[in-house]
């Protein structure tokens, strides 16, 4: 039961973020909703690593503990990549703002002109 509670919260966060990403005009708001999605995924991965029995988990394996933490390692990598992505994304948004005087994605259509 406990696993399902955490997975449900993760799913709710992910789909609230999905709604924000698809429905917002402001690119910074889209980036914020993207962070919500990342947090939902991280919560799901950590909940799995806490409660799910790994397939490799055999009694004969010597260092059995490390299979249980794979989800946490994945989460560390996701957080790192998310940080890099926010830095690049905000730099791109600042550059777009300099050329268009706006951060609305509906205004960023220079290739169409």
């Amino acid at each position: 039961m406990t696993l399902e509670k955490f997975l449900t919260i993760g799913a709710i966060l992910f789909f609230i973020g999905l709604y924000g990403v698809l429905s917002k005009k402001n690119s910074i708001a889209i980036l914020m909703s993207l962070e919500l999605m990342f947090n939902g995924i991280n919560l799901t991965a950590v909940a799995f690593s806490r409660y799910i029995k790994p397939a490799e988990l055999m009694p004969a394996v010597a260092d059995v503990s490390k299979y249980l933490l794979t989800g946490q390692v994945f989460t560390i990598f996701i957080i790192t990549v998310a940080a890099a992505e926010v830095a690049i994304g905000l730099a791109i948004i600042i550059a777009i703002y300099r050329t268009n005087q706006s951060v609305l994605i509906t205004e960023a259509n220079n290739l169409k002109k």
Binding site: L13, L22, M32, A47, R50, S65, K66, A83, I88, A91
Partner: protein, 183 residues
């Protein structure tokens, strides 16, 4: 001490979980609904804090610290800087005309995934740990951070190094993108 006994069964943990869950979800909804982008970013910080608390409930204390330092400490500050620099506050946090359709689609997908989560027969760790294995129990008590370090620097060394290269590229790319052209 075995997995699943002691702290898990306590009513305090249960209350903590529900407080964290409700505040996380409500502030996440506020992030996508509030028109003032600055206030939305403050609610985003509340969501990050709630997720950090859930990491602690899941016995991932190191990740809770990482979440506090990177999300609450760094990413939200970056976002607030960008919001204030671009001076779009008066325009508010506008949505597309498609937002009703998008909202219906995401709600349907969310209900579907919650249904699948509750219907799936998960292969859970048994409540008393795995077999006769004491290391499992140690993993979630005091050995979790050394084990994480061993995994990061041994099993996932290549990915670790790739991430460091990625961070270097991100730093250089961000600098190059925001640099003023002074020809």
């Amino acid at each position: 001490m075995t997995l699943g006994t002691g702290t898990e069964s306590s009513i305090v943990i249960e209350i903590t979980f529900w407080v964290l869950a409700v505040s996380t979800v409500i502030s996440a909804i506020a992030v996508v609904h509030i028109r003032d982008l600055f206030r939305a970013s403050l609610f985003l910080i509340v969501t990050f804090l709630g997720v950090a608390g859930m990491f602690i409930l899941l016995r991932a204390e190191f990740l809770a610290g990482v979440q506090l330092m990177i999300y609450v400490g760094a990413i939200s500050v970056l976002l607030i800087f960008a919001i204030l620099m671009t001076r779009e506050l008066e325009n508010g946090n506008q949505s597309h005309f498609m937002r009703v359709v998008v909202g219906l689609i995401s709600t349907a997908l969310m209900l579907l995934s919650i249904y699948l989560i509750s219907e799936t027969n998960w292969n859970l760790l048994s409540e008393s740990g795995v077999g006769n294995d004491d290391t499992v129990i140690h993993t979630f008590s005091d050995e979790s951070i050394p084990t994480l370090a061993k995994m990061l620097l041994a099993d996932y060394l290549l990915a670790f190094e790739m991430v460091s290269v990625l961070l270097l590229a991100a730093v250089l790319g961000a600098l190059a993108l925001v640099r003023e052209d002074n020809k």
